[in-house]
Amino acid sequence: MNHPQPTETSKEPLAPGQRLPESECKELSPEAIAEIHAIMAKYPDKLAATLPALYIAQREFGFVSLSAMKAVARAIGIPEGHVFGVATFYTMYQKAPVGKFHFSVCTNISCALRGAAQLLEKVCERTGVKPGEGPSPDGLWSVEEVECLAGCGVAPCIQVNHDVYDELVDEDKLVEVMEACKRGDYRPWAE
């Protein structure tokens, strides 16, 4: 349950009860709001749109900031506290900015038996960032240590953004993947 607290881009986390100045409250685009409303219509209860709407907000804002959560709450018409609770429960909503290419490295048992610990260290060394730290200075990379990605048979595996897995990764393959990112073969984060 050691999830990072949500942050604003340039600010310390807000204390409980503290509110953002009105000028800093960002809105979702009209297209995004229309998309959220279309999802709400599909389910018997509008609350069910919370998870998909947070993905849409993540795409729009780059990460799920407090103002993104508030915008989602307004778009669906549900309490902000509910959205905060949901967004902080799930690990795939990034509560702090991430790089253009976000590496999720599985270090769970099956991957660990085939060298995931050493792979994670290599990823950190090559990208220059540590898990849980913000993106690299050039904004390209960020790294996260994740739990099982269901790629145990092709371990160790990593996922770049939310795209297909890269399997049986050794150092050469890692360099190849990073080159492919730079070439534009991977969907950048939040697209």
């Binding site: 018997p44 769970n108 099956s110 038996l113 990605l149 145990c152 048979g153 795209d163 297909v164």
Partner: protein, 456 residues
Amino acid sequence: MVAIRTKPDLHTYTFPGFGSEQFPNLMLRGAGDLDNWHIKVYEQKHEGYVAMKAALKMEPVAVTEEVKASGIRGRGGAGFPAGLKWSFMPKDTADRTFTRYLVCNGDEGEPGTFKDRVILEYNPHQLIEGMIIAGWAMQCVTGYVYIRGEFLWLIEKLEAALQQARDAGYLGKNILGTGWDFDILVYRGAGAYICGEETALLNSLEGRRGEPRVKPPFPAAKGAFGQPTTVNNVETLAAVPPILRMGGAEYAKIGTPKNTGTRIFGVSGHVKRPGIYELPLGTPMNFLVEELAGGSSTGRKIKAIIPGGASAPMLDEKDFDCPLDFDTMKARGSMAGSGGLIVMDEDTCIVQATLRLIRFYAHESCGQCTPCREGCNWMEMILYRIEHGQGRMEDLDLLASLTPRISLRTLCPLGDAACGPMDSALQKFRHEFEHHITHKTCYTTGSRLLSKVGAH
């Protein structure tokens, strides 16, 4: 429409003799063939939608009876008979007081398990067909497929496959002239292992935190959106078309009398050919590990096997001949779980492996029940200090006294799941823990399982 990703994955799917009478291929038809997700290929090559068309001509109750006759047990982990689960749904099919839902559990997160992704990758129509048949049997109005968020490309693929099924008239209003309306929606999870538990999954589907609910009421009485709901695993639902095609009685002849049918096993860890193997239940574990997966990849002896995903207690050498079925596995002190085998060779440090597993449970505990939330964290901390040379001999008794206080004292089985690896490691490999405490280093010389850069 989004482009369907065509990057092949590198799994092994087959072995000599696969597809014969002894080793029937019911679930992995077309595995490895990336064109197989098209409805045309499925219908032409793999008798696609034949079972659905036959089922829609039967009475819904008769379909459930057929599934009961097959004896299939849920493939998600608990092994509950699927036909029986279906029959718990309210039977007012005539006056339709209830809106009934079918939910497919595709939140595959158990470490060591990677079977559902293969079905979704190569055979999404078999799942869709199974869901239509199950939906008909229980007269559901909507089917939800809950898929873990990391499988984005599989979600896109399944959406495209669903559209093909809608275009063919298999989903939507008045399906094949029966007057029955049914559609399937895909719901994307967001990274929480606990959502694989059925009531946590339902909470997540409703847009809430994925915290398990108090049972009863069971989902069959009050499930998704407060309505009667049945939750089945991807593999269970994908097994329904073969059952209807063969007939329940014929399907029941595969496997052993109380553990019928075939199952997809995933083998990972220290083996030569890790991958996905479909085998009849009751096949001996060492046949799968030694013959099919090629035995140890490191040349060293195999020390321990976790037989059913990370939650299953470890087995040591004397139990490697255990048949892979629910009942024998339980009798031998482990569980068949989700069918993911994790193989560890004799150079693996059991203390590190256990710490890595317990860290997973401590991270994934939803925090609702105190024994699990606190217990898993404490187990992690105690194991951490043993691993880092600060352990005391009494720590082992402390660990052993923690598990009975977690197990069976929580709303869902996550706490029990954490106790499985902990207890079995302590019982079977206590000397490694003791060595760690007295010598402040590993008993073995294998490579590290824990990274030096920060954990979560």
